[in-house]
Amino acid sequence: MNMQLFVNGIVNAALIAPPAIAFSLLFGVMRFPNFAIGGYITAGAFAAYAFNVQLGLPLLASAVAAMALTGFIVWLSDIIVFKPMRGHGPVTLLVVSIALTLILEHIIRIIYSAEVRGFDIPLQRPVKFAGIRITYEQMDIIALALAVAVATHLLLRFTNIGKAMRATADNPVLAEVRGINTGLVIGFTWLFCGALFGLTGVLAGLDLVIEPLLGWNLTIPIFAAAILGGIGSPYGAMLGAVMVGMAEELTVLVLPSSYKVGVGFMIIAVLLLARPHGLLGQPEIRK
């Protein structure tokens, strides 16, 4: 049982790590917690549904197309909603992003109603070894999450655009002064993160159910993972995802499962009280 819970936790973590990384990256550049990730993820799931079920594309192609479309939607949301509001306080933008997620969710409702949906692929039975059950699909999800983490790391560390992203997140005015077109970099960041949210939509659609609240349900764990890892730090977000994923699963050992959501929050609260800047976050000392 406990080993199984451990595996469950890893799968959870794999599901929330990519969006937590994206959320963190976005926070780094935009400096506000974007609650619209729920809407983005839902949009990704429905986009993939449209390509896969309605247009009959294979799932893999649908996933890629959904990532592209979500990236575009997310980028567009910046152009229309957030870009004109640069310089506003983080709390104002947070409220705006909540409004945005409500808008996205309900546009999807108008088009698709609240019915449950799934992709056009059969459910898989697990393989069993050493008392652990895991499906190939879940292994794929874990592998994908790792790939996203590594790819993001390589992107940020070794490519020019990645370095420019870090520079822009660090100090946008200086980046501009050094000749970096921060507008382009920010646009790329939205697109990249949007694609990750799209991917999450696909994976969450596989794992859970495609319905208008899909992304909203994932928002808090993602937010928690990003915060635990020290918001704005993509590597921390991966670690945070593992912790949140595990915490959610292991809760059932000590408390009724109906308290699961709350316990996740409690763990976050306790950790934040012990380390107010997250696990990998650095306190800032101003002179």
Binding site: P84, M85, V95, H106, P276
Partner: protein
């Protein structure tokens, strides 16, 4: 029709109390609270359970709800006061969810998901059925006025000045000898007390409360009220609460005019409308419809008044 207006005004009253409380906590002191629904629920359940299960008279139960709110607020503030604002957001959100989960799961006490039926209503036997809603509205407005008076007195006082300083830079405020912790805990507790009182008023008004009432969406509406009205401005948020409720309720009447939309699409369009309006208002008036006024002291010649004159 007028009965409807009276009851909507009563709901606006609940929103106003919550908004005044949030303004005190966030608008004036900079403490983010996304757990409004939790304090609201705490007040509602405290007063409800004290009357239903403990047999308290409603006249004692309702103030007790405010006290419970104050205690919970102080506790939450003490625990989480050093957190950055976005972290405080998630901790308070978690507190709200925790309260809701407790109400949901501890059904031996709270009746859980089937909801708590509350019969007791203040002064109910003194008035007939048609005038009672007006009496209730008056009661709610009296609490709005009290909350407003307290919040406004604080805002204009040296304490309000310290609070705004803490909002700007808590480290410097502390270096200047301000007891930041005490200020924050006090203000958060007072705000939570208002929220508790609002919850109690709500509970005895609708007479049936269940955990589903206290979803985080309530917090979002109150945030919208404060932001749309103008953070830091108590008059503004009264306006904001009125506007948010007017949008929420007014959009119901769209269905009476637009026939071709089915109910599902219509309700989706309502929410979209609310979201779009919020974004537009914030775009056009980023500091709200009535921004925080600049404080000017004692400008009037010979007047010698040193109280803040908050006109802009």
């Amino acid at each position: 029709m007028s009965a409807y207006l009276i009851s909507m005004a009563t709901y606006v009253g609940f929103f106003m109390i919550l908004a005044i409380a949030l303004n005190l906590q966030w608008g004036m002191t900079g403490m983010v609270n996304f757990g409004i629904a939790g304090f609201y629920a705490l007040g509602a359940y405290s007063s409800g359970l004290l009357t239903v299960k403990a047999g308290w008279p409603v006249g004692f139960a309702m103030p007790a709800a405010a006290v419970v709110g104050i205690a919970a607020g102080a506790l939450v503030a003490l625990l989480s006061i050093r957190l950055r604002e976005d972290f405080l957001a998630i901790v308070t959100l978690g507190f709200g969810e925790l309260i809701r989960l407790i109400a949901l799961n501890e059904d031996e006490i709270t009746e859980g998901p089937r909801g708590l039926k509350i019969d007791a209503r203040p002064f109910a036997d003194m008035f007939d059925r048609t005038t009672y809603p007006i009496v209730y509205l008056a009661m709610v407005l009296a609490v709005v006025a009290l909350a407003f008076f307290i919040a406004e007195r604080i805002r204009r006082s040296p304490m309000g000045r310290s609070l705004r300083a803490i909002r700007e830079d808590d480290v410097v405020a502390e270096v200047l000898g301000k007891n930041v912790l005490r200020h924050r805990v006090q203000v958060f507790a007072i705000g939570a007390g208002f929220m508790g009182a609002a919850g109690a008023l709500y509970a005895h008004y609708v007479q049936n409360i269940s955990p589903e009432v206290f979803m985080p969406m309530v917090a979002i509406f109150i945030w919208m009220s404060v932001i749309v009205g103008g953070a830091g401005n108590n008059w503004g948020l009264l306006l904001g609460a009125g506007i948010v409720m007017a949008i929420l309720e007014g959009s119901r009447f769209m269905g009476d005019f637009i026939d071709f939309l089915d109910a599902e699409k219509l309700s989706a369009i309502r929410v979209i409308l609310i979201g779009v309006l919020l974004i537009i208002i914030l775009r056009v008036r980023p500091r709200g419809l009535m921004p925080e006024p600049r404080f000017r002291y004692g400008r009037s010649p010979g007047g010698g008044s040193s109280t803040a004159d908050a006109q802009s």
